[in-house]
């Protein structure tokens, strides 16, 4: 996992609420046995008519070249539904390092953090402020300080992340490194289970 610290970027707004992981990556694209290459199928059925790359849906924001950036800003309850980690892999592979929303589904949040994609939960009010910005505006996310800032106005909000996860992300460690380091504790614990 790559370390993550500060991100300053333009963003892509997706105002829909309850975006489920079937939309992020439909099940028919889960047949791969590797972690790579999922970005081309991100939001597949929102991007193309009849699953055909020659027929992009012009109105969908990922198909508008003037919108770009490594931050996705989405309506509340992002990532609900299936536990497929492919959703996090496809966002990362497409080029997103940060997802901002006013509410995240639990499993998605874990999956994102385990892949170095930072879920930034903001208030509804702050989310609406971001949605109201002009295209081309930038956001700054400072993981160390746990802040997200609208650069044009300086408006800022703090976001929550536990210290353990923050340290992991800043250093590019993952949970498996940690679990392997406490293996003796786990073996001792097993003896207490009758």
């Amino acid at each position: 996992m790559k370390p993550l610290k500060n991100i300053q970027s333009t963003f892509i707004p997706l105002t829909e609420e309850n975006i489920d992981t079937d939309q992020i990556i439909p099940a028919r694209f889960l047949k791969s046995t590797s972690r790579e290459g999922f970005g081309k199928n991100l939001f597949r059925d929102w991007r193309y008519y009849h699953n055909d790359e020659a027929q992009p849906k012009a109105g969908f924001i990922l198909n508008k070249p003037e919108y770009n950036g490594s931050i996705l800003v989405a309506g509340k309850n992002f990532g609900c539904g299936s536990s497929r980690e492919h959703a996090a892999w496809s966002l990362l592979d497409y080029g997103f390092n940060v997802v901002v929303s006013s509410f995240f589904a639990d499993i998605f949040k874990n999956n994102a953090l385990n892949n170095g994609v930072l879920p930034v939960q903001v208030s509804d009010k702050f989310l609406q402020k971001i949605f109201a910005l002009e295209n081309g505006s930038t956001l700054s996310v400072d993981l160390e300080k746990q802040t997200i800032t609208i650069d044009a106005t300086g408006e800022q909000e703090k976001f929550d992340i536990n210290n353990y996860k923050k340290t992991c992300l800043l250093n590019g460690y993952d949970d498996i490194d940690y679990l392997l380091s406490i293996k003796q504790d786990i073996i001792n614990f097993e003896k207490t289970l009758a």
Partner: protein
């Protein structure tokens, strides 16, 4: 202060708490399948690690398998390779696999309970969000991502933040024609698709106690559809009766000892929940969804909400978008609307009791000629039971196609799909856009309501057929 059932099990499995971080939780049983495990196997191999406790993991192939001609090689290449990868990985890492052709093969959340692998008081995980199903036995069971599958492979533990605890009490007697699927669809319609995010839910109350294990599994299964990490029901005589003599359940003296232990698995009277919701069983009627998340459900005789009736702007936009996708009009009635497909199956409703419910409606009747009906037993064992009880004859006489065990048309991944633009009354768990195939339109309902639509060809109040 007393403890909740959830807290009792969590604390027993707590290896350690990381200060200002998650808890390290020991996992008793890990189920895997072909879709979310390959990257976890390659992950531990890349780290040069062995599987720490291979005996605590059980595998099956379900999501990406065909449901006809399972004895033949899988036609679609990527699917064939993915299923073969599971076979290779299990062999290499000495994991028990109930793969295609094995008499125990089936949907992972059907086979765990029916084999007696799922037991009260356990911690159970699987790379599938419907792992919450196993909570019906009074276990902590929840879905995980592939990185977490890799954690369990490497250490038999995962890191989790302790969720809050919610209790949903359903008291009273259920109306005729109302089954457990209606209870859970009703609950989700009340608290929304995100109403239990951050919580683990315990279901309690006299209406829950009166349910069979199959019915309890249906309820716990859909906990994730309101955002909950999992759902659970305290074990009781119904649980023990179901489990006794199952293949991997404890036997003889060990059984008696275990039952004594399991009887202590309940929330203490003075236990405090972060949230409690009370529901009267009498309020619940047969349910059906009209939208593109499982929270958008109504009773069978109600109308789809009007846009004006919704005050929240975001929700109003959601409703308009959902109805556009579904080809429905705000304020309309669903009853009498033609459907082209009926799907009876999935980890929610493919157990023998679900199929008995279907048979009770269709016995002596024929399916409507305009409806394509797929009926998919959840496991090879359910399929065998189906034949033993003669239900297969009832289904084929009615014109239903009985398929072989797998997730089938629940998720639009394998060969079984609903054609674009067509409606499907489905006993599965999700009605998301494209869930049953690109452009498919899903109406979630109980096995009884699905059976009724198969006969009439239109959305029907099953109580009219039961009279």
């Amino acid at each position: 202060m007393g403890k909740t059932l959830f807290e009792k099990i969590w604390e027993k499995h707590l290896v350690k708490s990381i200060p200002d971080g998650p808890d390290v939780i020991y996992i008793d049983k890990h189920f895997i399948h072909e879709v979310t495990s390959p990257q976890a196997f390659s992950g531990i191999e890349k780290r040069g690690q062995q599987i720490f406790r291979p005996l605590k993991t059980v595998a099956t192939a379900d999501h990406n398998v065909p449901t006809i001609n399972q004895h033949l090689p899988i036609v679609e290449e990527l699917s064939r390779l993915q299923v073969q990868k599971l076979v290779d990985n299990c062999k290499k890492h000495q994991i028990e696999l109930y793969g295609l052709g094995h008499p125990f093969q089936g949907i992972v959340h059907v086979i765990g309970p029916e084999l007696g692998i799922t037991q009260p008081g356990m911690t159970i995980v699987c790379g599938d969000s419907h792992t919450s199903t196993h909570g019906a036995f009074g276990s902590i069971a929840f879905g995980i991502g592939t990185s977490e599958v890799e954690m369990v492979f490497a250490s038999q533990c995962i890191l989790q933040n302790k969720p809050k605890v919610m209790r949903i009490n359903v008291e009273g007697e259920l109306n005729k024609g109302v089954v457990s699927k209606d209870i859970i669809l009703y609950i989700i319609s009340k608290i929304s698709a995100s109403g239990a995010t951050g919580y683990f839910v315990e279901y309690a109350g006299s209406a829950i106690r009166s349910l069979s294990m199959e019915a309890r599994m249906t309820i716990c299964n859909m906990s994730i559809e309101m955002g909950a990490r999992g759902g659970m029901i305290a074990p009781d005589e119904t649980t023990f009766e179901y489990m006794k003599n199952r293949l991997f359940a404890p036997k003889e003296d060990a059984w008696d000892e275990k039952v004594e232990e399991w009887k202590k698995l309940y929330s203490d009277e003075d236990a405090v929940f972060d949230k409690e919701i009370n529901i009267k069983a009498e309020e619940i009627e047969p349910m059906i969804t009209y939208g593109t998340n499982p929270g958008l459900g109504i009773t069978i005789n109600a109308n789809v909400p009007t846009v004006e009736s919704i005050s929240d702007e975001g929700e109003r936009k959601n409703l308009i978008k959902a109805l556009e996708y579904m080809g429905l009009t705000a304020g309309q009635s669903l009853k009498g609307m033609p459907v082209q497909n009926v799907f009876i199956g999935s980890c929610t409703n493919s157990r023998i009791e679900d199929l008995r419910l279907v048979a009770s409606v269709i016995k002596g009747r024929k399916k409507n000629e305009n409806v394509n009906v797929m009926i998919v037993p959840g496991s090879q064992q359910v399929a065998a039971q189906l034949s033993a009880e003669g239900l297969d004859v009832i289904f084929t006489d009615a014109g239903f196609k009985i398929r072989q065990a797998g997730c089938s048309a629940c998720l639009g991944m394998n060969e079984d799909k609903v054609p674009a633009g067509e409606y499907c009354i489905s006993t599965s768990n999700r009605n998301f856009e494209g869930r049953q195939g690109a452009g498919s339109r899903t109406l979630l309902a109980s096995p009884l309501t699905a059976a009724a639509a198969a006969i009439t060809g239109v959305v029907t109040d099953v109580r009219e057929l039961l009279n």
